[in-house]
């Protein structure tokens, strides 16, 4: 209950700040069981059924096999839903310095972008942003959390040009 409240607050604050940063987090955590209820051509479906994030190993931006299969699904969805554009966020865990993590996040976002482009998604539908270690998803200070924070998040939205 407490957690849900925090999620709602988070979304509200982000909306206020006009910051696209953490919105998908709230979407995914909310309720996996509802995934089936979302229409295929909605960002909600993309988050719940395709998977909006890809995880990375420590200090790396190379895609894992698992990451590539998620991105394959993302690419298919994007190709079938041509009215959507995507902003790819790159994130890092807290175990690095601020500037380096910004650069690392940029690298991760770019790796995802390049992969999606290689699968046929038009370059001009994709843009990237790095958050470095500024927006952790999980807040504990162990590998269990860090592994989830080393991520890219593909945020799809209707008609927004990159």
């Amino acid at each position: 209950m407490k957690r849900k409240l925090a999620v709602v607050l988070t979304a509200g604050l982000l909306a206020l700040s006009g910051c696209a940063g953490g919105l998908p987090e709230s979407g995914l955590g909310a309720d996996q069981s509802q995934a089936g209820d979302f229409k295929y051509d909605t960002p909600e479906f993309f988050v719940a059924s395709i998977g909006d994030r890809v995880l990375f190993t420590v200090d790396q931006s190379t895609l894992t096999t698992e990451g590539m299969s998620i991105l394959d699904a993302q690419a298919s969805w994007l190709l079938e839903n041509g009215a959507f554009t995507a902003l790819i966020e790159g994130h890092a865990d807290e175990q690095g310095t601020r500037e380096y993590n910004l650069a690392l996040g940029a690298r991760r976002a770019s790796a995802v972008q390049s992969y999606l482009v290689s699968k046929g998604v038009a370059d001009n539908r994709l843009s990237t942003v790095t958050y470095g270690k500024e927006r952790p998803l999980e807040i504990c200070s162990t590998e269990a959390c860090w592994s989830k924070n080393r991520r890219s998040v593909t945020v799809v939205s209707a008609g927004r040009s990159s």
Binding site: A20, S61, T97, R98, E99, Y100, L102, R107, E138, S141
Partner: protein
Amino acid sequence: MRPLLKILTALALLIAGFPVYAQSTNGPLRIEITEGVIEPLPFAAPAFVAENAAARQLADELSQVVVSDLVGSAIFREIPRSAHISGISNFDAPVQFSDWKAINAQALVTGSVSVRADGQIAVKFRLFDVFAQSALGEGLQFVGTRENWRRMAHKVADSVYARLTGENGYFDSRVVFVAESGPKNLRLKRLAIMDYDGANVRNLTDDRSIVLAPRFSPDGTKVLYTSYETGLPRAFVLDLGTMRRKALDELPGMTFSPRFSPDGKSVVMSLSKGGNTDIYLVDVKSGQRTRLTSAPSIETAPSYSPDSRQIVFESDRAGSQQLYIMPATGGEARRISFGKGRYGTPVWSPRGDLVAFTKINKGRFHIGVMRLDGSEERLLTASFLDEGPTWSPNGRVLMFFRETRGANGAPSLYSVDISGRNLKQVPTPGFGSDPSWSGLLK
């Protein structure tokens, strides 16, 4: 900032009719701080004399700030007022040296404060070598507005520091930093400015967008920082006089880690494009960019040498994050960090002889210093996360931030002498990170 500077006419006036003392035959009282002070020099600072009733409270507060500055440096030790045999009730009366010698005060700081008819405050002070029974240097007077009374105290302390160490002080200075609030997964950040000791905190931005890593201009009138207000990280410059802010340039890309050149006319920063981060030079007036590095690796956190000829930065071109020095015009870089672990956030010392850095090794973070060739590496701190050193104006102290671990982990500002001694927290109202220390104020 500018009105403050204008208002404070900290004139170093020679007070007329000042008694002249002979210098001690063994040379003036002096404490050497080259290797870090182990035994601080004992001094006494009786309450400053209030020259009129309006100055009474101020005289006391002002002398407390002087004492706090000197004691805080760990180079000096105060002999508490409770141990004093006599006080100073008349600033111009001859000093009873025997009373101060008896309590083993090697240095004596006396002062007087008056509130003038125009509301300005005048602070006089004298410094004495108790055992030589002589004055150390001339008496000084500082005049300023009431709101700047702490600056006058800092100037007194800086003068005492300079006369007893032979080096410039660092007390009359400010720090810009990121004031943080809120939970760890949704930190709200805003820029704030304060005196070096945490007093007079003032917010510089709201917390609607993420802001990072502010850096003072050399003259202290502007602050560079990174803001997400356009949705992407972007280098901004804020004028502290007008409080106007603008993006450093209009060209595309994510820009961050900006830092001024020593003449303040240009900025070095990082630009991320297509996943590759390189270092660029931006002319502040024209906004024109010049690329300084072109490698597929990460190049970031550039910092100029004080003579403007070289830039120290971090790069992972050799596989992991390490420190390099290149000519200020770009070109071949030499690696300077060779120890175990990763090195980042290099900052050239104001004296030009050292580079301060963050080191990450085996899951621990350290603040350290090394020579320009990487030799004599000294780690000054260790914790779960210590990051982002900034130099005191005189190059004797580093401020940085320390973040605690866990779900409730949060950052605070700390300072440590480059000897590794005198580690202490710098008070801020909430969480604090990314400090940048100004030069001595004018």
